[in-house]
């Protein structure tokens, strides 16, 4: 294809969903313009590009928007040459998609629930839920990780690594803010070891912020909610 790709990513530094897309673009070695959105003051471009959900991330490719992080990651995977993000085998693809959906449908609402909880009881309930869900991930993925592979994607990071890995810095933030250990070497040894490798990965290092930034953002959200 002639000409440079015109790629613009509307994101948020602390959004795991935006981070996934940045990692996918990084894996493919594709350059893009990054635009940090202010969720308290959404840009006209964001509202016009994602009228349905009004959320980040949005990837705008040659002026055409793609929305929803998992849709964008698959789009990037299919469009650009380079290391594959989803595996080639249909059954392995279905498995990767299943666990990615599980992370988004079960795990993420649970840990976000810890943050949003307004009472100690609610917090404890959400923490228990999160630990139960992460336990399911640890057990089910024991086979995958036990065969000696470094990542869910094999020797290099793939779809599920990106989807789950993009949340890890928030787990660190939650440890600091709420004293909850979601992944730890005692209860979830395989995930803990995988998390270490993920953090050291070059693609992750480039775009995953420190827990501090997440803590700051959470405080900002809480202040805004209290001000209402």
């Amino acid at each position: 294809m002639a000409g440079k790709e015109d790629l613009k990513l509307l994101g948020l530094v602390v959004s795991p969903f935006a981070i996934r897309v940045r990692m996918a673009l990084g894996i493919k070695g594709v350059s893009y313009e990054y635009v940090e959105e202010d969720m308290f003051n959404k840009s006209d471009l964001l509202l016009a590009s994602n009228p349905v959900h009004k959320k980040v991330p949005v990837l705008i490719h040659n002026g055409k928007p793609v929305c929803e992080s998992l849709v964008i990651v698959q789009y990037v995977d299919e469009l650009f040459a380079g290391p594959p993000i989803l595996p080639a085998d249909p059954y392995e693809r279905a498995t990767a998609r299943f666990w990615a959906a599980f992370v988004d449908d079960k795990l993420t609402p649970a840990w976000i629930g810890i943050l949003k909880a307004e009472t100690e009881d609610e917090r404890a309930e959400k923490a228990t839920e999160t630990l139960a869900v992460i336990r399911q991930v640890e057990e089910a993925l024991a086979n995958t990780l036990a065969d000696g592979r470094a990542f869910f994607g094999g020797d290099s990071i793939g779809y599920l690594d990106v989807v789950l890995g993009s949340c890890l810095f928030w787990f660190d933030a939650l440890r600091r803010m709420r004293g909850v250990e979601i992944i730890d070497s005692g209860r979830t040894p395989l995930l803990a070891a995988w998390a270490e490798r993920f953090r050291e990965n070059a693609e992750a290092k480039g775009v995953v912020p420190g827990a501090d930034e997440a803590v700051q953002y959470a405080n900002k959200l809480a202040a805004a909610a209290a001000a209402k």
Binding site: E68, V71, I72, Y75, E78, P90, Y91, R93, F98, F102
Partner: protein, 222 residues
């Protein structure tokens, strides 16, 4: 391997729109399979073993290996059996649009519908307003196209088509007319219904209504 169509089983429940997506996809691809109706009040060992995480239908078993979650199953069917017709278009941007709208249906329609059917008073009015918003959004996305992807029936159509059997039920509970609010969506539903894959795999809308009425009675919702 290419052309191997043996060993397909679908664990399903007759009225489930999620199961129907899989039946439609299998029919579109001309794939024979064994349909195994599940008793959801007394879940089988096979279902529990095949979907230990969610214990839900639908589950597609291919050579004994389970695939779970309806849209994942539909994509698996498309990728494992790549012969025409392709359920997802060839163009990556068109594929992204199809996935976006299938995801939208998943995130919004069923939950809102459940609230519309179960609740009363103000919460039901809220659900009604949301349902109209969802249907209008889908109507807008369809535009004047024949199907969501354009000329060809595809992934987003498969994702939404089963819910057309629920329109009557939504209408009666919400006291609105889908035809009045979203005429293009109703015309699209008719076109879908003309396809054998859809016609043979959706229950009559009155049967869905009866099913919901029965469920409400059982759970003491009036």
């Amino acid at each position: 391997m290419a052309g191997e169509k043996k060993g397909l089983q679908l664990l399903d429940f007759w009225v489930s729109p999620f199961g129907q997506r899989c039946r439609i996809a299998l029919a579109e691809k001309g794939l024979p399979y064994e349909y195994l109706e599940q008793d959801l009040r007394n879940k089988s060992e096979l279902l529990r073993r095949s979907n230990p995480v969610h214990k839900k239908i639908p589950v597609l078993l291919h050579g004994g290996r389970p695939v779970c979650e309806s849209l994942i199953i539909v994509q698996y069917i498309d990728e494992a059996f790549p012969a025409e017709p392709g359920l997802l278009p060839a163009d990556p941007y068109a594929r992204a649009q199809a996935r976006f709208w299938a995801d939208y249906v998943d995130k919004k329609l069923y939950d809102c519908g459940t609230r519309l059917l179960k609740l009363k008073g103000e919460p039901q009015q809220q659900a009604r307003a949301e349902m109209l918003e969802i249907l209008r959004t889908l109507d807008g996305a369809l535009g004047d196209g024949k199907f969501f992807g354009g000329e060809a029936f595809g992934f987003a159509d498969v994702a939404l088509a089963p819910f057309t059997a629920w329109f009557l039920t939504y209408e009666r509970h919400g006291e609105f007319s889908v035809e009045k609010e979203c005429p293009r969506l109703v015309a699209w539903a008719k076109r879908c219904g003309e396809r054998e894959s859809v016609a043979k795999n959706l229950p009559p809308p009155e049967k869905v209504y009866e099913f919901v009425a029965g469920m409400k009675k059982r759970f003491g919702i009036e």
